[in-house]
């Protein structure tokens, strides 16, 4: 157990929701109604994450990702099952758990809005009671990983979204936590900023052996950072293994790109077991001229899409 950063055993989370009625009469009824229905947001999820691992925690919108993260961070209490973060039950020792985790929500800064970044860092150092030496070393490490000079004296309020995300990620590591939760860290960022952010996460993970739990809809994040992915859908874990393993299942799939007469590219996903690629091309040629052809292995994005759409693993 000691080398596991996070353990979840048969974790379930139910929410009670009032059955709402329609119309004015219904609203009045609702005031006194005890008519609740139970919604299971997370059903019987078990998971183990080793120290230093980066896992991609994926699933379509509303699958139960955020609920799981909230339970891991100690904000929500599971209805049943057991969660251990760094060997401790997070919701029973919220403050103690917070000592050892870092959290970043893509579009919500947790830094002091009007303070320059360096002042936020110093306040966090004091909040987490980080020893001076450790703090200095961490700032040194930051300097070696990204160019923090342009942002270090800038108030968070004046930063671009990319700079803010970068700052939030740095802030989440300042107390050298065992686990960092990153919720869509690259959402809304441009391509080069995305690259920077990914490199930073990778660098911090490598230097500090920090466990990273990454939720994202951007498969570029997954390709760049994770070897292992966990997918949940409708509250149930449907996949937990390496990405390569997953691609193996769809090994016979190819993405066919065709450049048509009007210079547009058309994309098709073809299962070679059932469909002949040449046949598809011939068929297409009967209708239009094909200028160029490219055949590729299935991308992570396509694989995940297939899984979300309910293709068995």
């Amino acid at each position: 157990m000691e080398d596991q950063a996070l353990v979840m055993k048969n974790v379930c989370k139910d929410f009670k929701v009032l059955n709402r009625h329609e119309g004015l009469k219904g609203s009045i009824q609702d005031l006194f109604s005890r008519d609740y229905k139970t919604i299971s947001a997370v059903k019987d999820v078990s998971l183990e994450v080793a120290r230093g691992e980066i896992i991609g925690y994926l699933g379509p919108n509303g699958a139960g990702k955020s609920t799981t993260i909230k339970m891991m961070t100690g904000v929500l209490e599971p209805t049943s099952g057991e969660i251990l973060v760094n060997g401790k039950v997070p919701y029973k020792n919220r403050t103690e758990n917070c000592e050892n985790i870092g959290v970043v929500f893509g579009q919500r800064s947790q830094l002091w809005w009007s303070l320059p970044l360096i002042e936020s860092f110093k306040l966090l150092r004091d909040l987490y009671m980080v020893p001076e030496k450790q703090y200095e070393d961490m700032i040194e490490l930051y300097r070696s990983l990204v160019d923090i000079e342009p942002i270090i004296n800038k108030p968070v309020r004046q930063m671009s979204l990319g700079q803010r995300t970068l700052s939030d990620i740095l802030a989440a590591f300042i107390h050298n936590p065992a686990i960092v939760f990153l919720d869509e860290p690259t959402i809304g960022l441009d391509v080069s900023m995305k690259d920077k952010i990914r490199a930073l996460i990778k660098g911090l993970n490598k230097e500090k052996n920090t466990t990273v739990i990454l939720t994202t809809h951007d498969m570029g994040d997954v390709d760049a950072l994770c070897r292992r992915i966990v997918i949940i859908d409708k509250g149930t874990k449907i996949y937990d293994n390496d990405i390569e393993h997953l691609k193996g299942y769809f090994g016979s799939y190819r993405t066919l790109h065709m450049k048509l007469a009007d210079d547009t590219w058309e994309q098709m996903l073809i299962d070679e077991k059932t469909t002949d690629v040449m046949q598809v091309i011939t068929e297409k040629q009967k209708v239009t001229k094909i200028k160029d052809i490219r055949l590729e292995e299935i991308s992570t994005e396509e694989v995940i899409k297939k899984i979300y759409e309910g293709e068995a693993v």
Partner: protein, 269 residues
């Protein structure tokens, strides 16, 4: 890993550091700072003018003459300063809760209530404090209350008591947002009630007197605590009990606030 102790000193230290940073940035928005200070002075002046007009027409209210009323007025202003300065973020609570932003206050290894309140220090309260102290001293001199260390000590204790009641009221009002959507009204109503604090509770008839003493303890925001100074020979039991009640009310409101945090399910991402 050893457990880190976070005691009173830690919290005081953190608060001071956040405050210093906050003030530094506030000063840098000079226009904003000046305008809000002027605004606060105007609000207090207009309150004061209303008060003067009232007394032009009624020389005494229920046996309370001008200077005693002024004392009560000044007392309530000073007592309302802490809630204005330190707990002003209560007004923003409902926005953080409905937007889901509130969750960010739960990721630090410190008390959520403290962390949330530490974010805002409202400078405007200081103008009110100066105004209140001025009024209080003016009335004090005219009534001719002796200045002894004991009276000063009593004044401080009972001012703090009065503050606790107002803080408790605002905490409780703000915390309703964890359960109901339009909690803004609850806060505004509570904040309006504070206007009644300026008047001796004895002017209210049976039902209201009971309401403002036991249900919404506005009478404790100035009337009962100030009696200890104003009428030292004739202090009602409720006045002597008010420090204890104040602590109790504050504690209850804090528990209510924290219960809201725990009950709130942070839906949405």
């Amino acid at each position: 890993m050893e457990k880190k102790k976070r005691g009173l000193r830690f919290y005081a230290d953190i608060y001071r550091k956040i405050l210093v940073q906050d003030l530094k940035t506030k000063m840098s928005y000079r226009a904003d700072f000046i305008i809000s200070t002027i605004g606060m002075i105007m609000v207090n002046l207009s309150g004061f003018v209303t008060f003067l007009i009232l007394f032009r027409n009624f020389p005494t209210i229920n046996g309370w003459d001008y200077y005693h009323m002024l004392f009560l007025y000044g007392f309530s202003l000073v007592a309302l300063t802490p809630v204005q300065c330190f707990f002003d973020n209560n007004w923003n609570l409902r926005f953080h809760v409905t937007s889901g932003d509130f969750i960010k206050y739960c990721f630090r290894p410190v008390n959520v209530f403290f962390y949330f309140m530490s974010e805002v220090f409202d400078v405007k309260g200081l103008g009110q404090l100066a105004f209140g102290i001025g009024t209080l001293i003016y009335a004090w001199v005219h009534i001719g209350i002796p200045v002894t260390p004991l009276v000063i000590a009593k004044l401080i204790v009972f001012l703090l008591t009065a503050s606790l009641f107002m803080i408790a009221l605002m905490n409780a009002a703000a915390a309703t947002c964890f359960w109901i959507r339009n909690s803004g009204y609850v806060m505004v109503i509570m904040f309006r009630f504070k206007d009644f604090a300026k008047y001796p509770s004895s002017i209210f008839s049976g039902v209201f007197s009971f309401l403002f003493t036991f249900i919404i303890p506005i009478a404790f925001v100035a009337y009962y605590p100030s009696l200890v100074i104003l009428e030292p020979d004739n202090v009602p039991l409720l006045s002597w009990l008010s420090p204890l009640l104040g602590v109790l009310f504050f504690w209850l409101s804090y528990k209510f606030w924290m219960l809201g945090v725990r009950k709130y399910d942070f839906t949405g991402s």
